[in-house]
């Protein structure tokens, strides 16, 4: 199989929010940058984010980054690294204002400032009462943001390689990252992008679950590539189930609906969140709300003929508010739930939404792995940002609107770090390791020649069903152990997938098979890490880690206040400590989490 080599200062994989933000940094610094993306940039899944981006601008009421930091640490169930969280919350205003300067059409307050709405888990004065912190453009914040950043990149003349599928990380024997191999989907041509800096911004892998708010393209490509290159994956057991996915369709309904006054009701019409979170009610953290919903359904108070969903009610809101602040939701309800949200409540269920874990990085966006001297040694030439990375600011549970903030802050800092490194002249185009490239070619070649192998669609479906069943909102000891066996079995199948279509021209069957190679790494990391973590924390809640006075909510700080690190080789787990020391303020003390 033939391939060619192209040289760049930097290569960015992914052109969603994080990739575009990093690209702005590199292009404006004049670096020769290639941005690879498997879909046209504005089709990346950042486009589907709805409710807003968090920043303590204080445009409608008093707010402070320190309160935001507190909420984020508490939301993470203390698994987030406090240095990174402080860094992110302090940078929030800067990066959001930058977006406004790029031309993003934020909604406005009467005084002309950026409009802010309340969001789950965001409180004022260290957890006192909900605060307006989510900066929004109607319920299309992600769309407005992604387009504004793409437009800024057009202005900066960023060089995009649109519809290129990245295949593997090129990492040499010293552990340095030298670029990626990628395939031009239109022609099937393989090119090695030889770069001094490689930034992964490939997004999450929500498609490992059967029911997901995620797009078809969210297949964890960067995470899978990193795992194959020997990089451990951090905290992969933590998956956010968004409380309000449209029942049946999985399409996201923003938490901003509850921020604007929407209420969750069970079959009896009861506002059940009052029982689970007396203070924050419907605006409690997502893991809390999702579990409450599943509990209601499990206890027989679900709605519909099968009692398998609850209702999101906005019929009491003024129609003008809905049409002005939530026009997209109105559209989605009609399209995917078949209801007019002005008149009827929307059927919703918790749906897999966000991957809290990912490629371990520090707050500069540099990828870090345990080394000989410390547990966080920088991988030279390798950066990651956005959902594929784990900085770790979300810990065991992410707050709504912190994902858009994450991709802005760490997209920018990864870009800045790469620029600094390139300017310092520390990086050269080291010789490419042939065996690494050969492995990629062998993988593609195997797929092209496989006979009597497994069907890609069915294998993927098996994986998704297994993940849904064995690693859902509530997790059970026996089910997890069984799930590990199942997923490892399915992984064998993934190694032998077969495609009928062998065309070189825009072969989407081949792309789906290559994506499955990445998905399965994520699924393995998730189920193995989840099986090992015998406590309940944030989004990871198990039956054998119940709420006791010694371990409130089942959280076992004595044994499990640590990050999981899963290695693909040998399916091995390692752990590293949580950074409890922020950059400038006092550590936020461990506390029982209640809303």
């Amino acid at each position: 199989m033939n391939y060619s080599v192209r040289k760049f200062d930097a290569v960015i994989v992914g052109a969603g929010g994080a990739g575009l933000r990093a690209a702005i940094q590199l292009s404006e610094a004049g670096m020769k940058t290639a941005v690879l993306t498997k879909v046209f940039p504005t089709r990346s899944h950042t486009v589907a984010a709805q409710g807003g981006v968090a920043a303590s601008l204080g445009n409608s009421e008093e707010d402070h980054w320190h309160w935001h930091m507190y909420d984020t640490v508490k939301g993470s169930d203390w698994l987030g690294d406090q240095d990174a969280i402080e860094f992110m919350c302090r940078k929030a205003n800067e990066v959001v204002v930058e977006l406004e300067h790029y031309g993003m059409p934020f909604d406005r307050t009467d005084s002309g400032k950026i409009y802010q709405r309340p969001f789950g888990g965001h409180m004022s004065n260290f957890g006192e009462k909900p605060v307006r912190r989510s900066c929004a453009a109607a319920d299309r914040t992600g769309h407005a943001m992604l387009h504004a950043m793409y437009q800024r990149n057009v202005k900066a003349n960023t060089q995009f390689f649109v519809e290129w599928q990245a295949l593997d990380l090129v990492r040499d024997a010293d552990g340095e990252v030298l670029g990626v191999t990628a395939m031009d989907m239109e022609t099937g041509e393989i090119v090695v992008f030889h770069a001094k800096a490689t930034i992964f911004a490939t997004g999450g892998a929500g498609r490992i679950y059967y029911s997901s708010t995620n797009a078809f393209i969210n297949t964890g490509d960067g995470v899978g590539m990193a795992a194959r290159a020997g990089i451990p994956l951090e905290d992969m057991e933590f998956w956010q189930f968004h409380p309000t996915g449209v029942a049946g369709a999985g399409v996201l309904i923003t938490e901003g609906v509850r921020g604007e006054g929407g209420i969750l009701r069970n079959a009896q019409g009861e506002r059940f969140m009052e029982r689970y979170a007396p203070n924050a009610k419907d605006l409690a953290s997502r893991d809390v709300v999702s579990r409450a919903m599943v509990t209601e359904i499990n206890e027989g108070r679900g709605c519909g003929p099968n009692k398998d969903f609850v209702l999101l009610d906005i019929t009491h809101l003024p129609p003008e508010t809905i049409m002005k602040r939530l026009p997209g939701i109105h559209e989605i309800a009609v399209q995917f739930a078949g209801v007019d949200a002005l008149k009827e409540p929307i059927p919703v269920v918790p749906t897999c939404h966000y991957q809290m874990g990912g490629i371990p990085t520090n707050y500069n966006g540099q990828v870090v792995v345990p080394g000989k001297r410390t547990q966080s040694e920088i991988v030279p030439g390798f950066y990651a940002a956005g959902e594929c990375a784990c900085a770790s600011v979300h810990g065991a549970n992410r707050l709504g609107t912190n994902s858009l903030l994450d991709l802005l802050v760490f997209g920018k800092s990864a870009g800045e770090s790469a620029v600094a490194e390139l300017r310092a002249g520390n990086r050269t185009h080291k010789p490419l390791p042939q065996e690494c490239i050969d492995q990629t070619l062998a993988r593609v070649n195997r797929l092209n020649t496989q006979k009597g192998g497994a069907n890609v669609h069915e294998t993927r479906l098996d994986m998704q069903r297994a993940m849904q069943k064995h690693a859902g909102v509530f997790r059970f000891k026996d089910m997890l152990a069984e799930g590990v066996e199942k997923i490892l079995g399915i992984a064998e199948q993934v190694g032998q997938t077969e495609i009928a279509d062998k065309s070189m021209v825009f072969n989407t069957a081949r792309i789906e098979a290559l994506e499955l190679d990445n998905l399965i790494e994520v699924a393995k990391a998730t189920i193995v890490s989840a099986n090992a973590r015998t406590e309940s924390r944030g989004a990871h809640v198990r039956d054998d880690a119940p709420d006791t006075p010694a371990n409130p909510n089942g959280r076992d700080d004595a044994n499990w206040l640590k990050h999981s690190l899963w290695y693909r080789e040998g399916n091995r787990l390692d752990y590293k400590s949580v950074k409890l020391t922020p950059l400038s303020v006092d550590s936020i003390e461990l506390k029982t989490r209640a809303y």
Binding site: V39, F40, Y102, H457, T508, A509, E512
Partner: protein, 241 residues
């Protein structure tokens, strides 16, 4: 999935793989899809599970990414927003690639020309004032001007339904690009209105719009490029007299 819970669909799909086909053809396919398949895209995914060689773009499946634009029974639209129940019983569902752009394969078109036109209107905010430390202020009324403009998802349904674009794809900006042009003209923060108008003052770029209004008819987001084009023309007239 039981048989009673499924629905039989008859597709006629435009097929062309330059790697093996000498020329394009329409393929007849009959398929049972589960009742849970509500949208056209769901059925197409079911179809692709059976025959992995059918190539089409798709991503968000909720009408915001703009990937799965195609020509459905003669009218451009997004597969993910098209209800299967909207198709008449007993008639085939005819799927073709978006018209007016070169076909790469099956339902996948080469959108280079479309994006070239989008890029030609300088789709970014131009404001050379020193940057304020905080956000630039904009009144809610001024912000309202952007509604119906900024929501475009660049799916190309409108532009590829426009006869003026079919005849002059290289010179006529097309409805999507012109909508974007007006999005920046209408933005009180943008300072390049004159330049933007100059950029469009040409017998082709703007004035090939003959208010045929196919764009309005097909826009899956319910936007109105013709109205935006009319507003650009109004501004040009005001400027000229």
């Amino acid at each position: 999935m039981t048989v009673s819970n499924s629905r039989k669909l008859h597709f006629k799909i435009y097929r062309y793989d330059p790697d093996k086909d000498a020329k394009p053809y329409m393929q007849d396919i009959e398929i049972e899809v589960p009742a849970t398949d509500r949208k056209l895209l769901d059925a197409m995914v079911t179809l692709k599970a059976k025959d992995d060689s059918i190539a089409f773009r798709r991503s968000c499946r909720e009408g915001v990414c703009g990937s799965d634009a195609m020509n459905i029974n003669g009218k451009n639209g997004l597969a993910c927003l098209t209800d299967l129940s909207s198709f008449p019983e007993g008639k085939p569902i005819i799927l073709r690639p978006l018209p007016g752009l070169p076909v790469i394969r099956d339902l996948i078109v080469d959108m280079t020309q479309f994006f070239k036109q989008y890029h030609s209107i300088k789709p970014y905010l131009i404001n050379n004032d020193p940057l304020p430390e905080r956000e630039r202020l904009q009144s809610p009324e001024d912000r309202e001007e952007l509604n119906g403009l900024y929501e475009c998802i660049l799916c190309a349904c409108c532009t590829t339904a426009c006869p003026s674009f079919w005849w002059n794809p290289d010179k006529f900006v097309g409805p999507a690009g012109l909508l974007a042009a007006y999005r920046f003209i209408a933005d009180t923060r943008d300072q390049a209105t004159s330049e933007r108008l100059d950029n469009l003052e040409d017998p082709y770029r703007l004035f090939r719009c003959h208010t045929i209004m196919n764009c309005v008819d097909v826009c899956p987001k319910g936007l109105n490029p013709t109205k935006a084009i009319g507003k650009i023309k109004d501004m040009m007239v005001k400027r000229a007299i």
